[in-house]
Amino acid sequence: MRLRDSASSTKSGEIPRRKPPSAAYWLLAIVLPIAFLAAMRHFDAAPPGLADWQRAAAEFSSAPDIAPPSLSGVVWTTVGLPHRRTIARDESGVGWYRFTLDLGEPPRSLWALYMRRPRGHLSVFVNGRELTPVRDVRRPYRHDAAPKLIAVPAALLRVGVNDVLIAATFAPPAGQMDVVYIGPYSVLASAYQRHLMLDVTAKQASLVAMLLFATLFGIIYALRQRDTVFAAYGVTILVWAFHICFLLAPDPWFGTAAQWHVLGEFTLVAFVVCAIMTVHRFLGRRPRRAERLLLGGVSVYLLLALTTAALVDGEPLRDFNRYIGIPILLILGGRSVWQLARAAIANATIERRLMLLCALIVWIAGAHDFVVFAGEPGDGSRIMYLPYTVSFVLLVFGSVIMFRFARALRETEGMNVQLEARVAQKAAELEANYARIRVFERNQALAGERARIMRDMHDGIGGQLVAAIALASRPTATRELDGLLHEALDDLRMMIDSLESTEADLLTALGMLRMRVTNRFAAAGIEFHWEVTDVPPISDFGPEQVLQLMRIVQEAFANVLKHAAANTITVRTATAQLASGASAIAVEIEDDGRGLQPGHPAGRGLANMRRRAAALGAEIEIAPTPGGGTRVVVRLPLGGDGGTRDAVHAAAVRL
């Protein structure tokens, strides 16, 4: 399952389309950026009372020496603050700013100098005494984002005119002296605290959060590489974090200040490009040509910027960036905002609405920065708002991932429920199928059994009754009739006994037969020898087979009763082997009578016995015994493998 934008799944119809955003949402989309701008303006404003101590102008001298110039012999010109200077590559970049402080009475407490955004090394001298050390001017130096508060001990100040000198060392390509405040330490310190929080601490906190989020998105991407939008989130945040690093870092980590400056501006460009590509991925679009064009343009720009930084003094791309580069970025960014807005109108998922709000704020902050810095070049008292939109972006990106995670969980749960329902349905279908099969099998079995009973009745009792009716028409046939009717009843009993028997009960079936004839043998004075032993069960030996065997044995009994004139009859069972070598059960009926007489009417009975044995797949042997009697042996093949057959049978019974 994909952690995707819910809108992209509408194609498969899983999630219904949402209505366009309400008027309240659009009101929020307007109010939120305005509120953001207002809040930033409020926090950025100078603290009350600070303006009283502002110096908007200074006397300036570009003396190359870093020792404090004497007050005589130096040409001072009055400049407005903030004061921007372009520094050529071979210039030292040192400049002196001079202020006077006229005190009517001796100061009772600490005084201070405060600059919010001084771009260079600073060294402050009060009445000729150095307050901070002058650093090596040859060291590349760009700017310091942190505000500067320099304490002036009361002892250094005197009643009347005090001389304040600031040596500012700028690195190529440019530097800027900010507005200077000279006043009581307590007033300036509170402004310092506030600006330090806004300009440095807040950005540092953002950086930490950004690195965390970038790592998080990186992990998600590593785990789920199909979800490219998380990679895009991670890369965008990482590039942006680099940009903020450049804003915060006072000194270049490598290369010259000019190259560093170019890289700093490039990170901003890269951030915008990443943001645009993130929006593409968020919306599930991949305009390959447009993205290739974008990346190509950025590469060309980077090459151009690095080349000019290496070859040309100053900031040759400064105006290009301001009047062409940044407007292009704003237009491209605006296009992304427009895409998000259209997507949100088409299908207002919560993710799209949040992304649109976030993009709007980022874009408006960027536009604000462009207007402020392009319209009022050199105004160092204003800050860029763009870095402060980080929190919104992280909040929205984080929300998107949470929404998708929650939805994925819901979908999984829903699918589980569905799956269970389907399994239950399938089980029910299977059960119904089994029931149908069982009914079918039962009907089959019933039909087979019915056919068998019909056959058996026709074979036995039917023929006997027909013969009995024929006999009944003869007035003298009472005895014969009685015998026939008893035969019919015997046959019926055998059928019933066979119906109740199972394949494991061969001896019981034989025993029933014995019981049925016991009285007749006793009446004929024939002694019964019952020498049965336990025999293994026979495969597929059902009522039909039992009946066939019973009829064979019955025929043998009848022959002994009628024709053998025997004294004893012996019934035996034993395990045996067929001629083929297969295992079998032997059933023997042996008498000690006078044996088979040639041409005897028993011949038809013997033929019947052979026919029935053939139907059973059994061998039958009818032979005289050494003692003159007759022995009938029926050998029934065991069939199958006795051991596994039992297991199969038990399983069948359980089913």
């Binding site: 006994d497 199972t502 001896l507 029933m512 019981m515 007749r520």
Partner: protein, 224 residues
């Protein structure tokens, strides 16, 4: 004097049986009827030594009559008349309290001997009935069609009784069984009668077990 009550709906058969009974010295047949209602009235009014009864009757099942008669007179003998002596019918009657059975048609079967066997404490058995009894009391020996095992019925068969059943199921006669076990033929037939008594108790406890399983009766009554 042995008093026999006869219940048989087929008039010809009833006559035939009556004649055969009366031919035996010492047997009286004061009641010979064709419906359950008449027989129920008769057994409430008087006590026979032997009740000889058919199962399928025009106004009901002979099993009900057997049950009522055994409840009223626990000491009487009940003999079922059967055409085939088949397992199902005879077992149903045995469960209701019958102690013997008689084949309807067989002129050679000694009705007098059968009755005196009963009165002397013995019962007849067929291999199929013996096999059925083995299954009832030892359901583990054959998983097929095993009735549910009641919880601790306390009416298990003795080893000797089981031996008798096993031999009878293989078709051996009482005489043969007696020789093989070294006991008298009368003893073997008395074992059979005891087993029938256990079957009746067993089937009653089985019914109680089933009923309690289905929640038809509560624990207290089961304990009593």
């Amino acid at each position: 004097m042995t008093i026999v009550y006869l219940l048989e709906d087929d008039a010809v058969t009833r006559h035939n049986l009556e004649e055969r009974l009366l031919a035996v010295p010492g047997i009286e047949v004061p009641v010979s009827v064709g419906t359950c209602t008449e027989m129920l009235t008769a057994v409430r009014a008087g006590r026979p030594d032997v009740l000889l009864c058919d199962l399928q009757l025009p106004d009901g099942n002979g099993v009900e009559v057997i049950r009522v008669a055994r409840d009223l007179h626990p000491e009487i003998e009940v003999m079922v008349i059967s055409v085939f002596g088949d397992e199902q019918r005879v077992v149903t009657a045995l469960k209701a309290g019958a102690t013997g059975y008689l084949l309807k048609d067989d002129p050679s079967s000694e009705i007098g001997a059968a009755i005196s066997q009963l009165l002397q404490g013995g019962s007849p058995i067929s291999p199929a009935i013996a096999r059925y009894l083995i299954r009832v009391f030892r359901p583990t020996e054959s998983t097929e069609q095993a009735p549910p095992q009641p919880v601790d019925s306390g009416i298990d068969l003795t080893t000797r009784e089981l031996e008798v059943l096993q031999l009878a199921a293989k078709g051996f006669s009482y005489g043969e069984i007696a020789r093989m076990l070294g006991i008298s033929g009368a003893t073997v037939s008395s074992y059979t009668k005891k087993i029938y008594g256990k079957l009746a108790v067993h089937s009653r406890s089985e019914a109680v077990y089933e009923a309690s399983r289905l929640g038809l009766i509560d624990e207290v009554r089961r304990d009593t």
